[in-house]
């Protein structure tokens, strides 16, 4: 794993301390790190070159401030510049202002996620009080039509009835007519995946465009795409003049630098991001969040959202009550551990918290393996309710019984109990900090709340 950009810049800038101004000379190494970080995030090399150039111009002559380290200053410039490139604050809502039915066309490479995104978009539009019609126009991939039909059924959306022996253009024309007659105000055209150099299929897209006059042509791009993103986006844009981009599969650990490249070379805004396989996992794009992700600066907002998505609200409320009364017991400890587990690996969680990069390294090796988790669960499950509520009563013979019951050993039980006592202390401290201390407490969570570290 690569270190985050901020850490690397810190080390580069150690020698810069005490110098008054940033000059061509002393930021050279830093810019190299910026360049590598962007390349590592799959931003296209030409885009990187231009970008680093503009950062250089901005950075030279900037005073090295006392309160900020030079590294932080560069990061700041890079961050702001990136947000600017990504079109920070610009309106990226869908343009549906036309006489209904309005056509939306989805285009992209094979496997980018067009069909799934069609469904998500249909759901989104339904939420906007529109009446969308899904149109499967992918007659090439086996069962692609079935896929959209199924998605439509799951969402309660109507799917146009097409079959694989029709011509895609004919399907689209017929669908527009059908929509007009039946009162659908928005038509989402799901086209087949294709390479931008396949002129046979690309011409087909041009024909569909001419026939349906879509208000939006959305280029669906996989967040994991590498340097190739630029070639593909330029190819589609030249022929079709796309109106926007949807970045999919951003729920993985890809940095999504491709979005930056696409925006930079086509000038077309990213309108939505796909964040999961469930049909509600579509979100309006936030440039600043993606930028933080590219720079490895941590993404607190996404973390909070992720936490919200897995934490059971009732459970959380119950836990809060218990915390208030200082009754955090082994049962809660287990519940919490399981919830954290649901959020993904510790590494990915830590990666989202700013400044945790370093800590992550220290924790390496001390991290809970899946196996440890299972053992801890087994140990707690082997306790009686009484023991779980009050671990003070667990004496020697109880320990032996628990160890036997869980297939572990007494030292392991002892270790868990010790960790738990420490966790309880952290919880008490958290109480004192109040809600404001929550973030600080998250640091503590890594160390003390879990039975390792």
């Amino acid at each position: 794993m690569f270190d985050s950009l901020s850490e690397k810049l810190e080390s580069v800038f150690k020698k810069l301390r005490g110098q008054g101004l940033m000059t061509e000379d002393n930021i050279k190494d830093a810019l190299r790190e910026v360049r590598l970080a962007l390349l590592e995030a799959d931003v296209n090399f030409k885009v990187v070159k231009d970008f680093v150039e503009s950062v250089r111009t901005k950075a030279i002559g900037v005073e090295v401030l006392g309160s900020l380290s030079p590294g932080q200053q560069i990061i700041r410039i890079v961050h702001d510049e990136l947000v600017l490139v990504m079109g920070g604050g610009s309106d990226n809502a869908l343009d549906l202002a036309a006489k209904p039915p309005v056509a939306l066309m989805m285009v992209g490479l094979q496997g980018a996620g067009k069909t799934t995104t069609c469904g998500k978009l249909g759901r989104h539009l339904k939420g906007l009080k529109r009446r969308p019609l899904l149109v499967p126009a992918d007659v090439y991939r086996p069962a692609a039509i079935d896929q959209l039909t199924t998605v439509g059924r799951q969402l309660g959306l109507e799917v146009f009835n097409s079959s694989a022996d029709q011509k895609p253009v004919d399907i689209c024309i017929a669908a527009m007519k059908y929509a007009e007659l039946n009162g659908y105000d928005t038509v989402i055209l799901d086209t087949a995946g294709r390479h931008q150099i396949d002129d046979f299929l690309m011409n087909e897209l041009a024909e569909i465009k001419a026939a349906t006059q879509p208000r939006e042509i959305l280029f669906v791009a996989d967040a994991m795409t590498g340097q190739e993103a630029v070639n593909v986006a330029v190819g589609f844009n030249e022929l079709l003049d796309i109106t926007g981009v949807i970045l999919t599969k951003l729920d993985g650990d890809a940095k999504g630098g491709a979005a930056l490249s696409i925006k930079a070379v086509t000038g077309k805004p990213v309108k939505f991001v796909g964040l999961g396989e469930k049909l509600d996992a579509l979100e309006v794009f936030h440039p600043d969040r993606l930028v933080s992700r590219i720079l490895g600066m941590g993404d607190v907002l996404s973390l909070v959202e992720k936490a919200q998505s897995v934490f059971d609200e009732k459970e959380a409320a119950r836990l809060q009550q218990k915390l208030k009364k200082n009754q955090f017991d082994l049962e809660d400890f287990l519940a919490q551990m399981q919830q954290i587990r649901k959020m993904g690996s510790m590494e990915s969680i830590m990666g989202m918290i700013p400044g945790m990069g370093k800590m992550m390294k220290q924790m390496k090796g001390a991290q809970p393996s899946e196996k440890d988790m299972v053992r801890i669960e087994a140990i707690i499950r082997s306790m009686t309710p009484g023991e779980r509520a009050n671990h003070g009563i667990i004496n020697g013979s109880r320990r032996l019984r628990i160890a036997k019951g869980s297939g572990t050993s007494v030292p392991e039980v002892n270790q868990l109990l010790k960790r738990f006592t420490e966790a309880q202390k952290v919880v008490k401290q958290l109480q004192k900090l109040g809600p404001k201390g929550l973030l600080k407490g998250m640091g503590g969570l890594g160390k003390g709340m879990l039975p390792f570290g």
């Binding site: 094979q110 496997g111 069962a143 079935d146 896929q147 931008q196 150099i197 590498g226 340097q227």
Partner: protein, 354 residues
């Protein structure tokens, strides 16, 4: 952006030259049979790497060449002296060819050492050395998949969403059944809408049976049935299709471990091969995919898909080298016979053909 545009048009022209047949039109019944016959003839004639293929791969890789080698040539050819700056630029070129940071740094270090021993006199020598080093890294782990060891031979196919798992399986099934082996497919992607239908459609094209359940069923249950059926019907090869999953999703990775456990319990020692399918357009994330899938699912081979576009196959070098994984197959198109054995020499040759 001039270069990008130029590359695009050149790619377009290449494509016109290569694809005279509308290869994406859905094959009709008779065409299908013809195709199958062609596959059979193909395989019987010469099992791998028939003449047309090298040309084809080269065409497919032409774009990669434009990117990687074109730039390397501009950088090094005609250069009398190789200095640190040249290497630094070379490093950037390699990283931007999706070769991956770690592998790139290592390649550059090796070149530096050779430079230090005065082995590299000029640009051409540097280029040759680079080619040699890349080839060496691909050859080191290269191994053709041997499916004769056990019966049924279980092939588990995994990967993130949308890389072409089902399509690859369709091609594999056609190829092996054309080879005269009895193949059975298991539709263990019960999550994505119509995934089983897609697999069935491939299966019917090559006359291969598919074991499937209803959508939303437990994939392990499908696998269980498939294993039972594979043994009962005495098939040679069982290919298991799984749902695409992002490698960072803990619960989905757990699900995959369970699938593996079920397979191993029903057919001891299986799966004999776990094939990770990687999209050629993937960037640095492929490294992370390979790492996590290898940890969780014990990947034993790579299939690289969608090489018929303009995508660079650069990641193969990184993934194969960093994780000691052999590249087994490459996908070079959408029709049923567009799956080939990976050949490092040809791949590297094509990569460096200006």
């Amino acid at each position: 952006m001039e270069q990008v545009t130029k590359g695009f048009f050149r790619g377009l022209m290449d494509k016109i030259g290569v694809t005279s047949q509308p290869d994406d039109a859905p094959p009709s019944e008779s065409e299908e049979q013809l195709q199958q016959a062609a596959v059979v003839a193909d395989v019987q004639e010469k099992p791998k790497g028939e003449p047309g293929f090298f040309e084809r791969l080269k065409q497919g890789l032409k774009k990669t060449t434009d990117g990687l080698v074109g730039r390397i040539d501009t950088l090094v050819l005609g250069k009398k002296v190789i200095d640190a700056e040249t290497l630094e630029e070379l490093e950037e070129i390699l990283i931007t060819s999706d070769i991956g940071v770690k592998t790139t740094v290592e390649l550059i270090r090796t070149l530096e050492q050779r430079l230090g021993r005065n082995e590299l006199k000029d640009g051409a020598a540097l280029r040759a050395a680079l080619k040699e080093e890349i080839l060496a890294r691909l050859v080191a782990h290269h191994q053709v998949l041997d499916m004769t060891g056990s019966r049924p031979f279980v092939l588990l196919v995994i990967g993130v969403n949308g890389v072409g798992k089902t399509t690859t399986i369709g091609k594999l099934a056609s190829r092996y059944s054309a080879d005269g082996r009895k193949v059975l497919l298991a539709a263990a992607d019960t999550f994505r809408a119509a995934a089983a239908e897609q697999l069935e459609s491939w299966g019917s094209r090559s006359g291969v049976d598919v074991i499937r359940h209803k959508e939303g069923a437990d994939p392990s249950a499908v696998v269980f049935d498939a294993c039972k059926a594979a043994v009962a019907r005495q098939v040679d090869i069982l290919i298991v299709d799984t749902a695409g999953r992002l490698h960072t999703k803990v619960n989905l990775m757990e699900e995959m471990k369970k699938i593996r456990r079920v397979i191993d319990r029903e057919i001891p020692g299986a799966p004999h091969e776990t094939l990770l399918v990687v999209d050629a357009a993937t960037g640095q994330n492929a490294i992370s995919q390979a790492r996590l899938f290898k940890d969780a699912a014990g990947v034993t081979g790579i299939a690289l898909t969608k090489l018929d576009g303009t995508a660079k196959g650069g990641i193969v070098v990184a993934v194969s080298h960093e994780f000691a994984l052999p590249v087994r197959y490459i996908g070079v198109g959408e029709s049923i016979d567009d799956l080939r054995d990976f050949n490092p020499q040809e791949f590297t040759d094509a990569l460096f053909q200006a």
